[in-house]
């Protein structure tokens, strides 16, 4: 059973440590997405797995074998790049077949393999074309085909959808997900787009400044964020984070409103950050928080409203058909069960399961 293990993985450039003791274990067939803002070390991690970046310290194991000192080609991996990196001077057939250059298969076997992969990707009729004659989505398919043809143990994707337009991105996202179901291989996918991460991943690894912030299923990272960074990074629109203090059985918000939070005891006076997702706030004539709508953004099914609550901006969603308008005075109500609580200093979640 193929497993990928990163143990205390560190990357330094000179004296600057950019990746700090990364630990991760991925099982065969799992789809793991590394997500985080630029500079968080997600691409560096991927490139270290691929063997394109030297490992400063730590261990990378693929299928029970330490691959630290192996060449990329000997690691049983394939990688799809953001820029596709398909060769402009070669036809689609040669591009896909390029991954088999060093394989010991016979020519007819190679051709059969290329045809099979092209069939899966719906590229059969384009095999004799050059990349210049293909659309962006087709080029990306060729790049994926070149990875697939080698039948690697691990697929690595380095932001492969970033160059596509929004519609095509959604379509390719779906195709990659289908492909994963079909080939059942381990896939490690790097992106800065949390929607991509949520939709594709079996598990998400959220990174920031060279540290892993949380590892979990999309539902876990959304509903039980380990800290304020994850809470705000995952989910659009962002989670509201409000200043609050503990009252024993609940919290008192910065504006004096008190909310009971079931299942948790908080020392009275303890400084907190109170997190609530926009969709967990219900707008009405009255509520716990009252304020003035400053901006309303209609999205169709729902409308995003920004409410000024005593100088603090709170984001909420409202029904699409009868939304409040800018300037309206409204109230927002919420339930303590939907609340996320974080320590004001460390930012760590106070709920069980938080880091």
């Amino acid at each position: 059973m193929t497993q990928l293990i990163l143990r205390d993985l560190v990357k330094r450039y000179g004296d600057t440590e950019v990746l700090h003791a990364i630990n991760l274990s991925v099982d065969q067939g799992e789809f793991v997405v590394l997500v985080g803002p630029s500079g968080c070390g997600k691409s560096t991690t991927l490139r270290m797995i691929a063997g394109l970046e030297e490992i400063s310290s730590g261990i990378i194991e693929i299928g029970g074998r330490v691959v630290n000192n192996l060449e990329p080609k000997d690691r049983n991996i394939a990688m799809v790049f953001q820029n596709y990196a398909i060769y402009p001077h070669m036809t689609v057939r040669r591009n896909i077949g390029f991954g088999l250059k060093t394989s010991k298969l016979s020519k007819p076997e190679k051709d059969a393999r290329i045809d099979e992969v092209a069939g899966i990707l719906g590229m059969t009729e384009y095999l004799e074309r050059k990349p210049a004659q293909l659309s962006g989505g087709q080029r990306q398919r060729v790049a994926i085909g070149r990875a697939m043809v080698r039948d690697p143990a691990v697929f690595l994707f380095d932001e492969p959808l970033s160059n596509l337009d929004a519609q095509l991105r959604t379509q390719m996202r779906l195709e990659i997900k289908k492909l994963h179901t079909r080939v059942g291989k381990m896939m490690i996918f790097v992106t800065h787009d949390q929607v991509e991460a949520m939709t594709l991943a079996d598990r998400i690894v959220i990174m920031k400044d060279g540290h892993i912030q949380q590892i979990g299923t999309p539902a876990q990272v959304y509903h039980e964020p380990a800290n304020t960074f994850v809470a705000q990074f995952i989910g659009a629109p962002q989670m509201n984070l409000l200043d609050a203090t503990g009252t024993g059985t609940g919290v008192r918000l910065w504006n004096g409103a008190e909310i009971a939070v079931p299942g948790i005891t908080l020392a009275p006076g303890r400084k907190l950050r109170f997190g609530i997702r926009p969709e967990d706030l219900t707008s009405g004539a009255e509520g716990l928080l009252s304020g003035t709508v400053t901006v309303a953004e209609p999205l169709g099914a729902e409308t995003l409203i920004y409410v000024d609550v005593g100088g603090v901006e709170v984001t909420a969603t409202a029904p699409g058909r009868t939304p409040p308008r800018a300037g309206d005075k409204i109230g927002l109500s919420l339930s303590g069960e939907a609340a996320h609580l974080f320590d004001a200093d460390s930012g760590l979640s106070l709920r069980a399961g938080g880091a």
Partner: protein, 294 residues
């Protein structure tokens, strides 16, 4: 030079084509532009026309200004082509220019690629050292070259003529700059696909810099085809002369046989013309970096 000629000719013919387009009032500025272009074109073509004209003149008419020979003759061509020496020089030049071009393309691009794509200590110093050789004029180099040839036993041999040009600093510079345009993703993808570094250079990087290679090939081929000073110094046997050196030897101490020199020159422009026509399409077409999202 040939490139400039071609551009001028094209510019001129463009101007003429536009002149034939549906009649509309040409402005004064346009008129001046045409005149200037036409004048430039004439200026470029003149030496060529004189070369052809002189090659068709008898010796007694060579110093007359007229462009049209009074009695046009092809006798000079017959003489030059039947003169066994000319063919020998032609072959010498062809071999030397071809080998030098191939060698320079190979080494210049290999070194340029290495300096561009590999990070190693001292890489910048190496690059600057190579570049700085561009500041030394050929005239200063011929003495050390001569001494080197002497100690290697290369005087009066193909090797002697060729060795200074087997790798060029300009080519290294040009290729390094062009390899900067090849994104690392391509090379890394090839690395993952299992190619070794040499294969990556040859199979992936080189096809992507074809326009640069074509341009460099033209520069180097023309440079070697027309090289005069060094081949003159290093060769002593007429059998080893290159075309320019051989042509200059027409005539005797008292008289230079211009009509023969011009005839030889006219014939010797043919290969360079062919060479340019073959490779210019690479330059003009260019390689679209279609494998990358623009």
């Amino acid at each position: 030079m040939a490139a400039t000629d071609d551009l001028t000719i094209r510019a001129t013919s463009d101007a003429l084509l536009r002149a034939q387009a549906p009649r509309k009032k040409a402005s004064m500025a346009q008129f001046i532009r045409w005149v200037l272009l036409f004048g430039g074109g004439i200026l470029m073509v003149m030496p060529l026309a004189y070369m052809i004209s002189t090659s068709m003149k008898f010796p007694w008419e060579v110093y007359e200004i007229g462009l049209i020979p009074e009695e046009p003759t092809l006798e000079n061509y017959t003489y030059v082509l039947e003169d066994g020496r000319f063919f020998g020089w032609f072959i010498n030049s062809l071999i030397i220019a071809t080998i030098t071009t191939l060698s320079a393309l190979f080494f210049d691009s290999l070194v340029g690629y290495t300096l561009c794509k590999f990070k190693f200590r001292g890489r910048y110093i190496v690059f600057i050292a190579i570049l700085s050789t561009l500041m030394i004029p050929t005239e200063m180099l011929v003495i050390p070259w001569y001494m080197m040839s002497q100690s290697f036993g290369w005087l009066d041999s193909y090797w002697g003529i060729m060795f200074p040009g087997l790798m060029t600093a300009f080519g290294v510079f040009l290729m390094k700059q062009f390899f900067e345009t090849v994104p690392d993703d391509f090379l890394e993808a090839a690395r993952i696909d299992g190619l070794n570094e040499f294969q990556i250079w040859w199979q992936v990087a080189m096809p992507m810099v074809k326009p640069a290679l074509a341009a460099l090939a033209i520069f180097i081929f023309l440079g070697n085809w027309t090289a005069f000073l060094w081949p003159l110094i290093v060769t002593t046997s007429p059998a080893l002369y290159t075309l320019p050196v051989g042509l200059a030897s027409y005539g005797d101490e008292a008289d230079v046989a211009w009509e023969l020199i011009m005839t030889g020159a006219a014939i010797s422009t043919l290969p360079t013309l062919i060479f340019f026509l073959i490779f210019q399409r690479f330059i003009i077409r260019g390689v679209v970096m279609a494998g990358l999202k623009g």
